[in-house]
Amino acid sequence: MTKAMTGAKMVVQALIDQGVDVVFGYPGGAVLPIYDEIFQQNSIKHVLVRHEQGAVHAAEGYARATGKPGVALVTSGPGATNAVTGLTDALMDSIPLIVLTGQVPTFMIGSDAFQEADTVGITRPCTKHNWLVKETDKLATTLHEAFHVATSGRPGPVLIDIPKDVQFATGTYTEAQQVETHYNPQVKGDMEMITELARAMETAKKPVFYTGGGVINSGPKASQLLRELVAATGFPITSTLMGLGCYPASGDNWLGMLGMHGLYEANMAMHDCDLMINIGARFDDRITGRIDAFSPGSTKAHIDIDASSINKVIHVDIPILGDVAHVLEDLLKVWKERGAKTDKEGLNNWWSQINDWRKIDCLKFKQEGNVIKPQYALERLEALTKKHDRYICTEVGQHQMWAAQYLGFEDPNRWMTSGGLGTMGYGFPASIGVQMGHPDALVINVAGEASWLMNMQEMGTAMQYRLPVKQFILNNERLGMVRQWQELLHGERYSSSWSESLPDFVKLAEAFGAKGIQCHDPETLDDAIMEMITYDGPVLFDCLVEKHENCFPMIPSGKAHNEMLLGDADTSDAIQAGGAVLV
């Protein structure tokens, strides 16, 4: 069935047809017709953010926490350019987003009209795909296709640029089922390769699962199958920052996060293993460290939906192109049909080696004196919130790494962090998106004071929509991660890494009508955290912590996994000039 309607109405209709319930946006001249349509309906809720960057990060948070694509709507020109950081962030972390931008009318494109920007040109490298729609008749088709592209294959952000005259004009609405597409990435893995992996699993003496965000993107079934596979094989498992929660942190085989600030046992297992099974991760430089020293003795298998991720940085022996859930299902089946064999004795030795590594207890720290250690703050936060229906966001910096180390994630979609781009200012708006998706959950953004200030205007959004997001700031009055690198790599010359002239966060919260809490005393920390949790509304928690704490373990850039620094005593001369050029 085809219907005639205006372009603006098509936008709303297509969103409804695609099951969208919330749009994060900010109006302006070039999207007024769409805002007019939004005003006249009740199916879709619009959340007015305070900055377009916030709209995109909120949509990302929503997408990560619900498994559905996030939608943002912004105006032309500055609205679109403000969305660029969020788009790039979503592209790096494979988050499905549909971003709609207004554009000047088609007959004015190219004339440097008011608020004109070459939005498709600017966003081409930071979207999975984008479109400028010049005819109203093509708008509905493009919208439906956009959802398909954003959510199929390796997910990612897409953008549709809609000129204002296209929004006003009337055209025919095309239903989603009538839209044809040629974009159809392969999901089933090659059975021969899968069998080869099963065979390798049977004889491996020192195997490890190295999992990543792809497991979470593949959907809950992928995490489910992964858990079955780990339980059935007894192999140890580690994960990247993006994959936390795909296997429970309380699970017996869990080694903790790996990578630059990963756990000793996880990195050592990666370095020494004889079979590495990469599931939905991409051998990022935060993970591999020095490439030529990366896990030198292992056979490497890689399951990924994106052919360009395979053999990009690390040469693999068993490449499997496909969707994680599909491949794991086949892998489990094949491995069981072949007798569900593993090298029990080899595995026992491997586990005893791993248990020796665990004894190093690389995350140990001492809370003493009257200053709160950031690790302690997170340990208490974990203890006091663990039983809740809890979602954690972070900003970027030391606090992010500590959160990854000291908080435990039992399920997928519970951990929202900017991994690939490392965007300060991501966490607060993301927490707003998460809370929109899960109104009754406890949503906490573990923040650094500097990052939090980058998108602090979203306090207005949290207040307006009564979103009880908890902003847990580990305030070290430093750009802590920058300071740490300056300490280790730049002769302790702390160039511009002090957070100067900080606001009074309690008063700041109150200025917005929110609740502010400050805590500097380890003795009162638990009570303060409880006060934050029980307060029904947004809270800004200013947790004053040790200012010069460093985040360990750390694999310095340019070093191998087994050259990890475990604590301050290790750091003198640890990093040589070669590593300093790396980021």
Binding site: G121, R124, E180
Partner: protein, 188 residues
């Protein structure tokens, strides 16, 4: 979400060899990329090369199927085998790309380029230019009393050789199309 109808024969099954044997030698490959003829598709392909630091030695593009809305981009690129594999995989994930063929590895292919040469001169130089053009099967498409425009088709090497010979004879300007290439035989 409502599902879309997925066109038959459009699945981007991997044509890439996922298990290559890499060496460090720099190779030159000719890639034929069949794309949806959409605005911006060329910008996507070029942006990919500049953004990721790949080389483009030659690039041609034109619509090849008006009804099917398809264009063909022929790219000649150089890189180590690993980089070439990356380039193909990266091209393959562009939503508007239907198919990537590596003509250099997928069996024999023919490559041709067309060029126009403006040669200015009189007397002996002029006579010698005409004589050489004849040997190279270049034809005269414009002439004045002091100049010729020659048209020549052939491999890039042939055109390079022609350019070298014309240099001392008053070669003033060259326009080259870049390479067009097809696999030999049928069923490519």
């Amino acid at each position: 979400m409502s599902a879309l109808k997925i066109k038959k024969g459009s699945t981007s099954h991997s044509a890439y060899n996922l298990r290559p044997n890499y060496s460090d030698t720099i190779e030159r490959h000719t890639l034929a990329v069949l794309v949806e003829n959409e605005p911006g598709v060329l910008a996507r392909v070029i942006g990919l090369f500049s953004g990721r630091g790949y080389n483009i030695d030659s690039l041609t593009v034109a619509e090849v199927d008006h009804l099917g809305h398809r264009s063909r981009i022929t790219i000649v690129t150089t890189g180590t085998p690993q980089v070439i594999e990356q380039i193909k995989a990266q091209l393959g994930r562009i939503v508007d790309v239907h198919k990537v063929n590596d003509l250099t590895v997928e069996g024999p292919s023919v490559e041709r380029e067309l060029a126009l040469f403006k040669v200015v001169g009189t007397g002996d130089h002029r006579i010698e230019a005409i004589r050489l053009a004849d040997i190279f099967r270049a034809s005269v498409v414009d002439s004045t009393l002091e100049s010729f425009v020659f048209e020549i088709t052939g491999t890039s090497e042939k055109i390079d050789a022609f350019a070298e010979l014309m240099q001392p004879l008053g070669l003033e300007e060259i326009a080259r199309t870049g390479i067009a290439a097809l696999a030999r035989g049928h069923d490519s």
